[in-house]
Each structure stands twice: as C-alpha cells, then as structure tokens.
C-alpha cells in the first residue's frame, strides 16, 4: 500500500482510492466496534406518534437504500474498468449495510415484518425515482445512472439524513452519522466521475440536464414528504431544498 496517495499519478491514485483496501481502511475508522451500525447503548422508545413517524421515515430510507443497492450492483456489470467495478462493489456492501441497520432499527421499534411495512408506507415519488434508476441500469446508460444515483440520490440522502440527525433520538442519530460518512464517499465518487466525463464530452451536460429535469420534481416531492414526517417547519424546508440544488449546480448541470 502506498503511504502518500497524493504523490501518485492520476491512474495510480484512482487504483488506490477505489480499492478494497482503501475502502476498508476508511470504514474501519467509524465502524470498528459498532453493532447494528452504532455505538450508542439501547435505543429509547419514542412516544407513539413519534414512533409511527420514525417508522415511516425509516421505511422510506429502506426504499432509497434498496434502490441504491440494486443500482450500484447493476452498475458493477457495466462499469468500464476494474477499479470502477471494485469501487462500486464497495458501494454495494455499504448500501446493503444501510439497509440492514435500518431493518434492525425498525425491529427495535416493534416492526415484525419490515418488507410488508415498507410496501405499505413507501412514498410514491420515491418508488417512481427507483423505477427511473432501474430503467437507466436496464438501458446500460452509465452516465445517466451514475449521475442519478451517485449525485442526485446520494445528495438527496445526504441532505435528508443530515437534517434528520439533528432532531432525532441518540441511537438513530449515531447510526445516521456513520451512514453519512459512506454517503459522502459515494457522492465524491459520483462528482469525480461525472466531472471527468463532462470535461471530455460537451454533449453530456445537455443530456444530464434532461435527466435532472425529469428527476427534480420527484426529489422535491420526496423531500417534502420526508420533512413533513420529521415535523420540520415549512419555513425551513426551502433551505434544505436549496442545499440539494446547490450540490447539483456545482457540477454545472442546470
């Protein structure tokens, strides 16, 4: 393993940072000694109203994580080279871990059949977003799928989890804080990949703008539903949507 990865040339740098070893060194720092994705002791039991709201939020997180799990695993097949396949394989396991810890949390909240509960509570906008991702992978559209998953979905999750963490119980917040570390890595990968592709393909920007135009209404609707379940005041909601829009704008995909 290389001590100073910044001394490497570009190809070697990406070989290193997309490797299994680099992934493991990264996650070990915040997953070592955790159980069910967190270090905090037994979770508190919220009031019935809050418990129901939290179950709905977590069920929708499961929909998002299942979408990410299925998309990243589908992308392993179409990734153009080995380091990208290996990185996406690390993302596959990250997304599966998120799904697993959300399941565990649902179980602590008294949900006995999570798959049935998810079906009952899933947001139609999020399900529509998931279908869009499936279509992109099915069409083997690497650029659109990486953009939709690693930039749009990951930004949406990053913003939502971050806000949720600030106003929830300690156990859920601890779990989310560790998931956010993964999401930051996935988002970084997406921005790097799309940024590189945009530099070499002038037509791509217009194509991704169309993808964004299709996904934005679904994303904003998902935000609205999630923030309502979190009981966040309507006055604060546009600020969060702005965070997401800024993340999109950084890539210049308007």
């Amino acid at each position: 393993m290389t001590e100073d990865i910044h001394s490497l040339d570009e190809d070697e740098f990406f070989d290193e940072v997309y490797s299994f070893q680099h992934w493991f060194d990264s996650v070990e720092g915040y997953l070592h000694g955790t159980r069910n994705g967190r270090k905090s002791p037994a979770a508190e039991v919220p009031s019935e109203g809050r418990r129901q709201a939290l179950i709905t939020i977590l069920c929708n997180y499961c929909v998002g994580e299942t979408a990410a799990l299925e998309t990243s695993s589908g992308l392993v097949l179409i990734a153009p080279n080995r380091p990208l396949k290996v990185f996406l394989a690390t993302q596959v396991v990250d997304e599966a871990r998120h799904l697993e810890v959300f399941y565990r949390r649902l179980s602590e909240l008294g949900v006995t059949d999570p798959e049935a509960e998810i079906t009952k509570r899933a947001s139609p906008s999020l399900l529509a977003f998931k279908r869009c991702l499936e279509e992109m992978v099915e069409a083997r559209d690497w650029d659109a799928a990486i953009f939709a998953q690693n930039v749009v979905l990951e930004s949406m999750e990053y913003t939502t989890f971050n806000r949720h963490m600030a106003g929830t119980d300690a156990a859920t917040a601890d779990m989310l804080s560790r998931i956010l570390r993964d999401e930051r890595r996935h988002l970084g990968f997406g921005e790097t990949q799309i940024g590189q592709r945009l530099r070499h393909d002038p037509v791509l920007k217009a194509r991704l703008s169309k993808v964004r135009a299709k996904l934005d209404p679904l994303v904003l609707s998902c935000f609205s539903e999630a923030l309502e379940a979190m009981e966040i005041a309507p006055s604060e909601r546009p600020e969060l949507a702005k965070d997401y829009m800024q993340a999109m704008d950084r890539l210049g995909v308007k």
Partner: protein, 297 residues
C-alpha cells in the same frame, strides 16, 4: 429475516472477514511477503504462474458479474444483503489476483489483453453458461450456478493450489487462504438458500440440472487444457528436480489424502476432477437437485 440468513448479515461478515481473517493483510497476504525469486527469475515458471493466475482472475470476474447481477433479482432483502457481501468478496478476489499478475511483472496497461489472451476458452464457456442465467434474471439457476458450481469448483482448486504452495510460495498460499474462507461462506449460503427455492419452484429442477451438466463439462475441459499443456509438465519436472530436501520430520504436502509431490499430472487432473464432481454431487443432493454426470473432454 429468517434465522439462517441472520448468519449471513453484513455485521457478521464485517466481524469475521475484513476485521477477522483479513485483518492486517495487504492484497490478501502478509505485508512484505513477495513472490519467490525463482518464479520471478525463471521465465517459464513466471509464464506458468501468470497462466494459472489469469484463470483465477477470469473465474473471479465471472463471479463478480454473477453475484452483483443476482442482487436485482433476489426474492428477499436478506438474500440481497448476503449477495452484497459476496459481490465485494469477489471484487476483492479480482483485485488480489490482478495484483499478483502485476507482482509477476505484467504491466498495468497490458492486464486486460493478457487476461483476454490467456483465459482458457473452456472457462469462458463455463462463465457464459452461468451469466446467461443471470442475464435472464433466473435467481434459482443463477445461485446454483454461482454458489454451488462455480464456488464449489473454486473452493477445491484453491485448496489444492494452497496445499501445493504452502512451502514453495507462502505469499500465494496466504492469499489463497482468505479466498478459501470466503468461498466456504458462499457455498454455505447457496446450500442453505437454494433448497427451499427448489422446493418452491420444482419446475426449475430440470433446467438447473442441464446447466450443471454443461458447466461441469466446461470445467473438466478447462482442467484438461491447463494440466495437459506441455508447460505444466515442464513446471512439474522443474519443481520435482529443484524442491529442497524435506526435513526428516517434515510432512509432505497432501490434499485429499494424496501426497501431491508424488503425483503425475494426469493423476493430479483425476484427483481434482473427481474431488470437485464428488462435492457437486453431495451439495446438489442436499438441495434436492439430481447430479448429472458430464461428458468427458
């Protein structure tokens, strides 16, 4: 999640694999371990090591494509979660065997062409038979092909290679030991998960049996091609003539009860083929699939 699938959780995988038997390793071996000088210096030995490693890379690429491809058609989330760990295991195997090619002197820019040139055509057919099922989103056939046939083959091949290399090449043997532990878990999942699915979808049985027969034939043809190659006998001759005299109390390298140093190539091929086929028969029997004897190459 059912109880048995709890045994295949990410938590369990994290604790037993990356934080367990891989802890402190570098590309699957102990830091600082190197390929023996003789392999790097003797061109025909190096070529032979590259030839063998390419087959491992090709097999693992197929396993990576199959395990990631099966996630989207898995019938439940617990199976998706297990297959996610398997996807990363297979990606790690691709990475460590590719790194071995680099350690053996293959230039990074040449990796894909070397694998394309040297991958055994029978192994490619073996992979195609499996990936066809994955492409069709056939979860039952895909898991049998991937977790029982491909992983069962890999398990025995890796065990034999590890026994052969334990003294001769400790770096490669250590790399193999981690992959053997992974393959054992993958085969275990296949056996546990597929039995109930075969009972649920009995109409799949005949198709799965046809696939097993076809994949088994391609596997035997791969073994034959690789072990009947003149370079294999030259390697065996060299190793026999140059192996250091064992100490008086030293046990010879054995696998499946056979002293590997005393076997001729055709005997090694027979031992490997019969071991893998016997394991197939046992494992398929446990999940309710009737083993089909393949044609001989």
């Amino acid at each position: 999640m059912s109880d048995f699938l709890n045994g295949y959780s990410i938590q369990r995988w994290l604790e037993s694999c990356p934080q367990g038997y891989l802890d402190g390793t570098e590309y699957g071996h102990e830091p600082g371990q190197k390929e023996p000088d003789t392999i790097v210096e003797q061109e025909f030995l190096r070529d032979r090591a590259i030839q063998t490693t390419v087959q491992l890379v090709a097999g693992e690429r197929c396993a990576l494509a199959a395990s990631s491809g099966l996630i989207g058609c898995a019938p439940d989330d617990a199976s998706k979660i297990f297959l996610a760990t398997q996807t990363l295991d297979e990606a790690r195997h691709v990475e460590i065997f590719t790194q071995r090619l680099i350690d053996l002197g293959v230039k990074k820019a040449d990796l894909d062409s070397v694998v394309a040139d040297l991958a055994d055509p029978n192994l490619i057919k073996f992979a195609e038979a499996l990936l066809e099922k994955v492409d069709k989103k056939d979860f039952v056939a895909g898991v049998v092909g991937q977790n029982l046939i491909l992983e069962g083959m890999a398990f025995s091949v890796f065990e034999m290679l590890q026994a052969m290399n334990a003294k001769w090449n400790p770096k490669f043997a250590r790399t193999l030991s981690g992959t053997i532990a992974d393959e054992r878990r993958h085969v275990g999942f296949g056996e546990n998960r597929i039995g109930s699915l075969i009972r649920q979808y009995p109409e799949k049985k005949a198709e799965v049996e046809r696939m097993q027969k076809e994949m088994s034939f391609h596997m035997l043809a791969t073994f034959a091609n690789q072990l009947r190659d003149p370079s294999a006998s030259r390697e065996l001759e060299w190793v026999s003539g140059n192996a250091p005299e064992p100490a008086a109390d030293e046990e010879p390298a054995t696998w499946q009860g056979a002293a590997l140093g005393e076997l001729k190539l055709d005997e090694i091929e027979n031992l490997l083929s019969s071991t893998v086929l016997r394991e197939f028969k046992t494992r398929l029997g446990r999940v309710g699939v009737d083993y089909q004897t393949p044609a001989l190459p």
